[in-house]
């Protein structure tokens, strides 16, 4: 079964637009379901929020008053509509633990995770794709075995163990990189960013190269550790796709025309082989926005993952609810964008419809 050179096919914008619209529409019920689930989550959590607020010695009258104030004795669907309204206004309630509005905490934590996930994704894409391409060009070479080995160990590695080893080595023994955290607060007391996008703030608001370096210095180790699994997956996938594409007729034709191997690999093979890899990079990124839990914990990274774990351990409902809602929404949006970009890159999709 021969695949033709799909990257060379023409585009049809009307069909593509309808595909994109259909995808957007399909995401709406998903987002609604996510909002309902995260709303119910708060009600399903063990423990009574009023009892948590007032302590064990609360009188029934005081409890009833708090329930009234929190709106907990109204019908569930009314509460849900209220919740949805609040969320759309950016009000996620208050954390029982810190007493601060959850929205204020998320403004710091979400960007921290985005920064980390972006860095990891860049590392994973560069390393994974290069490894995969090099391995496929020379099958059964040292590079190929290295690629397979990394791909296998990468997905089998307990990330918290790798994190520990990296910390002990790079931060402990060699003293090259810091153990954790985003920056050394003691040295940068004038740094009071408005959001958690520290690197962007350091560059644009503060214009301080030293601070930017300090932040990057702290970002390096966690980003590399977080990149392990996606690097393995991307390398494996790139290698498999490249091997398949390189065996196609049009590659042989290109070679027969007298083209050298390098341009054939870059212009003909990679363009076709990387289409599915891009989707997988998108999905991986979505996973990382919420799935960086372990890496964040190891490196005391104040992101969304550590926020969720902390909320689970002390059963702090509102932060948990808000994080779940946000992470699932991110995930759907990232998948949607990946899907749309996929349909732009791969014109074949148009002929299959929305399936």
């Amino acid at each position: 079964m021969g695949r033709d050179n799909i990257a060379a096919r023409p585009y049809n914008s009307a069909l593509m637009l309808s595909h994109i619209l259909r995808r957007l529409l399909a995401a709406v019920p998903m987002l609604l379901a996510i909002s309902i689930a995260s709303f119910l989550l708060l009600h399903l959590l063990p423990g009574d929020p009023t009892a948590v607020l007032l302590g064990q010695e609360a009188t029934p009258e005081a409890m009833a008053q708090v329930r009234e104030e929190l709106g907990l004795n109204r019908p569930l669907h009314i509460q849900y509509i209220d919740f949805l309204g609040n969320v759309l206004r950016g009000d996620f309630g208050r954390s029982f633990f810190s007493g601060r509005p959850v929205a204020d905490e998320l403004v710091m934590r979400v960007p921290a995770t985005i920064e980390l996930a972006l860095a990891a994704m860049i590392i994973a894409s560069i390393v994974g794709i290069s490894l995969g391409v090099l391995a496929s060009v020379k099958p059964r070479s040292v590079v190929d075995f290295a690629c397979l080995g990394i791909a296998l160990i990468g997905v089998s590695m307990p990330i918290f163990w790798l994190g520990f080893l990296a910390q002990q080595m790079m931060a402990g023994k060699l003293g090259l990189l810091p153990f954790g955290g985003r920056y050394n607060a003691a040295n940068w007391q004038g740094f009071e960013p408005d959001t958690g996008f520290f690197i962007a703030e350091a560059i644009f608001t503060y214009g301080s190269p030293e601070l930017t370096l300090e932040l990057l210095h702290h970002l390096t180790l966690p980003a590399f550790v977080l990149a392990t699994v996606p690097t393995a997956l991307i390398a494996r996938m790139t290698r498999a796709n490249m091997l398949e594409v390189l065996s196609q007729d049009y590659i042989r034709t290109a070679r027969a025309k007298g083209l050298a191997m390098t341009p054939v690999v870059i212009r003909h093979a990679m363009r076709n082989a990387l289409i599915p890899v891009i989707t997988s990079i998108g999905t991986q990124f979505g996973y990382m926005l919420g799935g960086a839990v372990l890496t964040e914990t190891i490196f005391s990274w104040p992101g969304l993952g550590t926020y969720v774990v902390q909320a689970v351990i002390i059963l702090d409902g509102k932060p948990l609810q808000a994080s779940v809602l946000l992470i699932a929404t991110f995930f759907v949006v990232v998948n949607l964008l990946t899907d749309i970009s996929y349909s732009i890159i791969d014109p074949r999709l148009r002929h299959k419809g929305a399936g």
């Binding site: 089998s156 080893l165 372990l294």
Partner: protein, 277 residues
């Protein structure tokens, strides 16, 4: 059967995987024979003592024998991962089979549920499940098992759809067999192999998830013999506990690697394209 053996004899990675898995299973089964101490038996007050002839891996931070902790840990970890994988297989398999066989709106509804569950990073979903269920090793089974189900559901549905359109199913229907009989006797047995591959690979993932959740402190009792907890305990005193962290991590890596190699081997065996090579 002869083919299988021949394939296995030529597939080095699968052999390595099988060896690793057998080693861990043996350690788990023979735990009381391998070490005279129980997993929670205080041996001495020399916390983090170095390996000696009596204690091949030394002692941990509670003065327990580390080797006993690790071999009994193999029991705990394997038991939890196995139960979780079986749970995923059962729930996911049942959902996927019903969706694929019945079709129509049942398929649509069930697959929406699956999509919905997959709209959330699975490890984090497990963390949230533990919040709902309570922190304990037994609840990790439920959390990891439920979170893993959607993958099995998708695979099962695809298999059932493939088998359903085959001629022997049509003839079974022409003979007037009931849906239940066709499903259980004709469709399911033909779907099992790909699911077994998925379950083998799923064991690796389940072990990582269980250890990760325990590491985060969601496993309940921190002194239970479980690899994630052992690793965490060593982590908490990084200067003395490094060796303990190293041992526990190596156990997790080795076991997961074993299941992944074995699963990859099984998949190669099932995939006729790679079989010919």
């Amino acid at each position: 059967m002869k083919d299988t053996l021949k394939f296995f004899m030529r597939h080095r990675p699968a052999q390595a995987g099988a060896l690793l898995v057998l080693l861990v299973v043996f350690a788990a089964l023979a735990a009381p024979l391998l070490t005279p101490w129980g997993p929670r038996e205080s041996v001495s007050y020399e916390f983090f003592a170095s390996p000696s002839s009596g204690h091949p891996l030394g002692l941990d931070g509670q003065g327990y024998d580390l080797l006993s902790r690790v071999v009994y840990g193999a029991r705990t970890t394997l038991r939890i991962a196995l139960l979780a994988t079986l749970l995923s297989l059962t729930i996911g398999g049942a959902l996927g089979a019903v969706a694929g066989y019945v079709g129509w709106w049942v398929d649509l509804a069930l697959m929406r549920v699956v999509d919905f569950m997959m709209s959330f990073p699975s490890f984090l979903l497990a963390v949230v499940m533990v919040a709902l269920l309570g922190k304990s090793l037994d609840n990790l089974v439920l959390a990891v098992g439920i979170v893993g189900a959607p993958l099995f559901a998708r695979q099962m549905r695809a298999e059932v759809l493939r088998i359903k359109s085959m001629e022997f199913i049509e003839s079974a229907r022409a003979l007037g067999y009931s849906h239940l009989r066709i499903m259980l006797r004709h469709v399911l047995p033909n779907c099992l192999t790909p699911l077994i591959v998925l379950a083998t690979l799923g064991m690796g993932g389940a072990i990582l998830d269980v250890a990760g959740l325990a590491f985060l402190g969601l496993g309940g009792d921190p002194f239970d013999p479980e690899w994630g907890l052992i690793l965490k305990a060593g982590w908490n005193s990084p200067t003395q506990g490094s060796f303990q962290v190293g041992v526990a991590g190596a156990c997790i890596l080795g076991t997961v690697l074993g299941f992944n190699l074995l699963g990859d081997g099984l998949r190669d065996w099932l995939d006729p394209r790679s079989r010919q090579k």
